[in-house]
């Protein structure tokens, strides 16, 4: 028979005003197994907790019920108190007689009767509470970072600088992400490459970072602290260990007119290439779709002949490598909403009326970045893609896809107001006699020195801002006719533009949903990854040990991405800094003798925490199949318990027996 102590709290007057606590204590004292039933003014205070400890010692209690506030408020407090006095922390229950009783009822007799019922239920439950020990899980003290943009770079460097190994996976041939392609950054106009490339070099040279470039995550297994990640290293056709990055190969490649992905098709690259001169690693890849030798299986081979290091490998193949890690940081970033007429795999209708993809001189914001960048296809000279002439009138349109329920996405992409102001400014700095026109819905410039920056674009650099939308863009006599509205002036506006720049909405990077499913991380209807709690756990996910940062979680600018990356790194470091971690032991278990091995639970478990196992005799002879819970992965939801047709699954802390006991206490 359990030796139970029941401690009823007055909570000052919060409970005692409506509930007769003496009556509660007296009624409960009569229940079998209850050795102590007392009340006190503030049970959570020092003297209150001392009272609990004293009674535990005096009555040799082995289970405790505290009747006070919500368990969400103080269960942890009283578990610690009880544990300090020698009662197992999981043999503590609370009866919520404040939030769910004294605060919501006025009739003292009825409230007291209900309080007695609630405490009786808790006493019935605690009788069946098993003594549990926190689950200890060993931790592989190494992290995986997925995505090598500015967020992934920051997270990788933070973790590596703290002394732990990092594997960084980047699907492009070089790290650097979107930021590597930007010209200058708001609100300081620092050159993006100048601030990013030294960090890229740090990653490339760091003794504790292993960089898997041109690679993707193939599969993830295991659980918090103990993930096994399989990485697909895509065939590069270049032996990176031998290659010196001298450049003879890409200079000798006869195929030179392939639209460059890094320049968003505004420039060209050869079939063997590095995306940009500062690439890390500075090792080329061969684009097999366009390489003559790889397409035909013979001929050409100029690169091979020129390579003094003998690094060209036309017979290269994809390789699968595995990394064992304890924590995973996801930093997969964003792509732009597809604004053309063709909407690949998108349910949204797009903006055909703006002529993107139809008129060469209608470009998006990232393309404009390449046009302004000193490392871009024009060497930083602003030139129209169609004829190379310097545009004298440039129209910038913000919110293309953002804040548009009908044709785009309802959310604000957050960075476009700022980069559009920057674009207008950079344009004016390069084309002194040119005019920038900006169509906007609202200018959202929340951030340190952001509003001042926008004012400078308008007041010093003379950008003309029109509050209104553009309805149509068409070509006439070599000009782009932009027809829009200025809703503040209340009149239509027509601009004969030489170049139009569309600030397209930010959407999650391609393939993020597949990755999220591999990691068991949730995502919203747009594909942005879901944090555990929007305010208090902003970089954690529903999957323990997996953290998120940067634009994969939602649109954000560079400083925010970097700050969030450091946050994710610090959360990962909390895990890596210990040899083992503890988890709540209120997890599911399977009665293996009874299990019929139907594996309904395996299919139902949202955490893939139940495995197909075998029951063997001590000599290793196979007896039967069974489901088996991995307590390192189980989050304790109990879905398996209700799905199990043979009643072989149960959940510690919320067992069938306990719930039945609670029900019996009701009547």
């Amino acid at each position: 028979m359990a030796r139970i102590g029941v401690f009823t709290c007055w909570c000052g007057e919060n409970i005692a005003r409506t509930v007769d606590v003496d009556q509660v204590s007296a009624a409960i004292a009569k229940l079998p197994g209850v050795r102590a039933s007392v009340n006190y003014k503030y049970m959570c205070s020092d003297p209150g907790q001392a009272l609990v400890r004293e009674k535990i010692a005096a009555e040799q209690l082995d289970a405790v019920v505290v009747a006070s506030c919500s368990p969400h408020m103080h269960l942890r407090t009283f578990r610690k108190t009880a544990e300090a006095a020698g009662v197992n922390a999981y043999r503590v229950e609370m009866a919520n007689i404040r939030e769910q009783c004294s605060w919501v009822h006025h009739d003292r007799a009825a409230a007291t009767a209900k309080a007695v019922d609630l405490v009786r239920i808790a006493v019935a439950k605690v009788r069946w509470d098993e003594a549990l020990e926190p689950i200890r899980v060993p931790v592989t003290r190494k992290a995986l970072v997925i995505g090598g943009g500015v967020a992934g770079i920051q997270a990788a460097l933070d973790i590596a600088d703290a002394g732990y190994q990092v594997a960084l996976v980047e699907r492009e041939p070089s790290i650097g992400g979107k930021m590597a392609g930007l010209s200058e950054t708001f609100p300081t106009l620092d050159c993006s490459q100048c601030i990013l490339t030294p960090r890229m070099v740090d990653v490339g040279q760091h003794p504790r970072i292993r960089l898997h470039s041109y690679s993707e995550v193939e599969s993830v297994s295991g659980f918090v602290g103990n993930f096994t990640v399989t990485i697909r290293q895509k065939a590069r056709y270049v032996d990176t260990a031998k290659c010196t990055g001298c450049g003879e190969c890409w200079n000798s490649c006869p195929i030179k007119k392939i639209p460059s992905e890094f320049d968003y098709r505004l420039g060209f690259r050869p079939a063997i290439y590095i995306p940009f001169p500062q690439a890390v690693p500075a090792r080329p890849v061969i684009d097999k779709e366009n390489c003559t030798r790889l397409k035909k299986g013979k001929g050409c081979g100029f690169c091979e002949k020129k390579c003094q290091a003998g690094a060209i490998r036309f017979d290269d193949q994809d390789k699968l490598v595995t990394e064992e890690v304890g924590a995973i940081v996801v930093a997969t970033g964003f792509k732009l909403y597809s604004i053309g007429k063709q909407q690949e795999n998108e349910s949204r209708s797009g903006y055909g009326e703006y002529g993107y993809g139809e008129y060469k001189d209608v470009i998006d914001g990232l393309q404009f970045e390449r046009l302004v960048s000193a490392s871009g296809p024009t060497g930083g000279r602003i030139a129209r893609p169609s004829d190379g002439r310097e545009p004298k009138n440039v129209v910038f349109i913000s919110c293309v896809g953002s804040r548009d329920n009908a044709k785009g996405v309802p959310y604000c992409s957050k960075i476009c107001c700022m980069y559009t102001a920057k674009h207008a400014m950079l344009y004016k700095h390069k084309v002194h006699d040119g005019q920038a026109h900006v169509f906007y819905m609202d200018v959202r410039a929340g951030g340190k020195n952001y509003e001042e920056f926008v004012r400078r674009a308008i007041e010093q650099d003379g950008a003309r801002y029109y509050r209104g939308r553009v309805s149509r863009i068409y070509e006439e006599n070599g000009k782009l006719i932009v027809r829009g509205a200025d809703t503040l002036a209340g009149e239509p506006v027509t601009i004969e533009a030489d170049l139009v720049v569309l600030a397209a909405a930010i959407t999650p990077a391609a393939g993020v949903r597949d990755l999220a499913r591999k990691l068991n991380v949730g995502y919203d209807e747009y594909g942005f990854l879901l944090e555990s709690h929007p305010k208090l756990r902003p970089v954690e996910t529903a999957s323990a040990g997996v953290f998120i940062c940067g634009a994969c979680q939602g649109p954000k600018d560079i400083p925010e991405s970097v700050a969030q990356a450091s946050a994710a790194a610090s959360k990962a470091l909390i895990m890596l800094s210990r040899d083992e971690m503890t988890r709540e032991p209120e997890v599911a278990r399977i009665d293996e003798k009874n299990c019929a091995a139907c594996f309904a639970c395996v299919r139902t478990c949202p955490y893939h925490a139940i495995e197909r196992g075998e029951v063997l005799t001590p000599r290793g002879v196979f007896v039967k199949h069974t489901a088996r819970v991995n307590p390192g992965l189980c989050m304790g939801c109990g879905t398996c318990v209700s799905i199990c047709p043979s009643k072989s699954a149960d959940l510690a802390g919320f067992s069938e027996q306990q719930i039945y006991a609670e029900l019996e206490a009701l009547v």
Binding site: R98, E99, Q100, V104, C637, T639, V641, L663
Partner: protein, 144 residues
């Protein structure tokens, strides 16, 4: 004077949404009838429909099951399992001629203290009108 009938209502609620919604009703001092007895479970996915039958067997006059709204489940999908099971179980009960007015299934989030108050108040009033649930006990007695 005979005592007016006061129903006993068992509420199976999930720990993360509805339980916190009920806590919020308390924090906001939203009054409701004292007939409900909350049994806290981690997730509506844990609620096997045997538990509902057991609650009636134990003398409940009505049962409420409430968890996180679709897409808000703390465990990502437990509430969908609960919903699917409920659709099937409901059919079964209807076929058996069970008084469906005694079983209630809702979503109440941690922010919906007001909804908790309304749901509990409505269920209590409705069950008061229905009177005590005796069919299960009658059945048991008939068998003995």
């Amino acid at each position: 004077m005979s005592e007016a009938f006061e129903p006993k209502i068992v509420a199976y609620v999930c720990n993360w949404c509805t339980y916190l919604g009920a806590d919020l009703a308390g924090t906001n001092r939203l009054e409701y009838p004292p007939n409900v007895r909350v049994l806290r479970l981690p997730c509506t996915g844990r609620i096997d429909f045997n538990l509902i039958v057991k609650a009636f067997e134990a003398g409940a006059d009505a049962v409420l099951v409430s968890g996180c709204h679709p897409a808000d489940c703390h465990y990502t999908s437990g509430n969908y399992h609960a919903r699917r099971r409920w659709i099937v179980f409901r059919r079964l009960l209807e076929t058996l001629g069970f008084e469906m007015e005694r079983i209630h299934f809702t979503w109440i989030s941690a922010a919906e203290g007001k909804k908790w108050q309304q749901v509990v108040t409505e269920i209590t009033e409705k069950t008061r009108r229905l009177g005590p649930y005796t069919a299960y006990r009658d059945l048991c007695e008939a068998h003995q």
